[in-house]
Amino acid sequence: MTRFGPYGGRYVPEALIAALDQLTEVYEAAKLDADFQGEFARLLRDYAGRPSLLYDATRFSEAIGARVLLKREDLNHTGAHKINNVLGQALLTTRMGKPRVIAETGAGQHGVATATAAALMGLECMVYMGEVDTERQALNVARMRLLGAEVTPVKSGSRTLKDAMNEAFRDWVTNVDTTHYVIGSVGGPAPFPAMVRDFASVIGTEARGQCLDLLGTLPDAVLACVGGGSNAMGIFTAFIPDDSVQLFGFEAAGDGVDTDRHAATLTKGSPGVLHGARSYVLQDEDGQTRESHSISAGLDYPGVGPEHAWLKDSGRATYLPVSDAEAMEAFRLLCRTEGIIPAIESAHALAGARVVAERLGPDAVLVVNLSGRGDKDMDTAADWFGLV
């Protein structure tokens, strides 16, 4: 499937179409191939550490006024959900016989995951990262280099995730014969949005089964943060057919959606084309992409995956903004009530839990995707809270 309603498609240079066709063909074959699926499942279990826990966060629940179950993607190898998608794409890369992978990264989690999979499978790896992000996520730059990846700071445009993605596309169009572009979210040209969703959907498949085991029933709502939207699609997908389960995505509102410093693409953007897909985009009236802002590098992106655009328009999911301040308050609350330091990205979904708790009442059961851990965010947190 290349479209989600009117969204998705392949708005890329013709030079890339052959590679997208090849990827589609190899992926469609892999879906039906027991060897591939077995190898992917084995890596997720033995290497990434799946299944991840579904944890009943009782003290956090008490503080926000509804029962919260945390899907602990922060406990995966490399510290975030990104490893799920990357292991799938790295396996496909070896199937295509390509010796090199490239990736864009914002917070650095996807770059670290790609560098990790490349080390595991003996692939050459180049990661593009906006110069601003290399500064605010310096620890992850060191991790990627330690893992043998080359990290290129991108100095064009806003020097964040969007520009890193531009540079990765430029590399790919030049080196497409030898290189697979491991897109890190559910954006980009087809088949990436559906393929990345499929690789990430193990999150929701597990969470749904764990809920049935623990509760004997389904939760009332599933919550995730949304930048490009892969952790959200990962946990939403298994629940989409369950009409009783409400789906909530939380976008980065930065300084507030009424300022010009936010990354709330679905809340404040409009349909357009960015990075190969038709979806919502933060843009001006000439179609020029607006610069986004978020305290969280992983959500600091002016686009969003096309399936989210469709889930919004069709009403199946609800998308709400969470400001930097609200996210940081939730970040601290989880630290203090549960002894878990979340990624600032994930803290947006934790802040959203308070909003959903108010809507659904104290008896509601909410599953929150704790998409990553916060070690990488210590500098930001220390600054924000004046800790050092």
Binding site: G9, R10, Y11, V12, P13, E14, A15, L16, I17, A18, A19, D21, S156, G157, K162, N166, F169, R170, V173, T174, N175, V176, D177, G272, V273, L274, H275, G276, V281, Q283, D284, E285, D286, G287, Q288, T289
Partner: protein, 265 residues
Amino acid sequence: MRSGEAYAAAKAAGRAAVVGYLPAGFPSYDGCLEAMKAMVDGGVDIVEVGLPYSDPVLDGPVIQAATERALRGGTRIFDVLRTAEAVAGMGVATVVMTYFNPVLAYGVERFAADLAAAGGSGLITPDLIPDEAAEWLEVAAARDLERIFLVAPSSSASRIAATVDACDGWVYAASTMGVTGARAATSQVAPSLVGRVREHTDLPIGVGLGVSNGEQAAEVASYADGVIVGSALVRCLLDSESPAAGVAAVGALTADLAAGVRRAA
């Protein structure tokens, strides 16, 4: 004049056409028009007016630098259309080269109407493949605007066939796998790509990506119908010590290119 007619006129003169690209609003609105005039006086057959875009994934550092500067200078779609109108008024075939999102945001029908009114003859769309272009194809056909799509060395025979089928005016052959930018040597794969495209169409074929001087233009002109030059012209303006020197360099390079295609003939 339509750009397809400019190809025909060049062919009638026994040579390839020279197609020159500069982004609107670079180095300034007026500075761009002066450079465009120098290109026309230097002998360019077709002008591509670039629409500066915030996320130019198919452009190398030279054109990125120029379009970023044009955007910082406040260049709007309206200015691009005014530029196209002024260039068409110089008596040269004029097309606009643009990533697709600005056209979508402006409105495909409105863009086509305003482009036609400005005297532009069509659009080159580097990130729009015919598969995604239903709305543009319909609107362009209704207004008789040229649809110039790209083919690449990686394009399969069936994709080349489908792409040239959707083209009107001419076909843009991207000579190398890569982004825009001058290269020391011209592409080895371009002649075979042009040969593969000719099996499917009688439309003129322009070759772009990497041509930077008259010698390379002569080489490309020996197998293609048009020689497309962008980054090398932009660099004349980026590298110049003064605006006037930049414009003079654009004129000199265009004259060199125009002499090159005549040498090949």
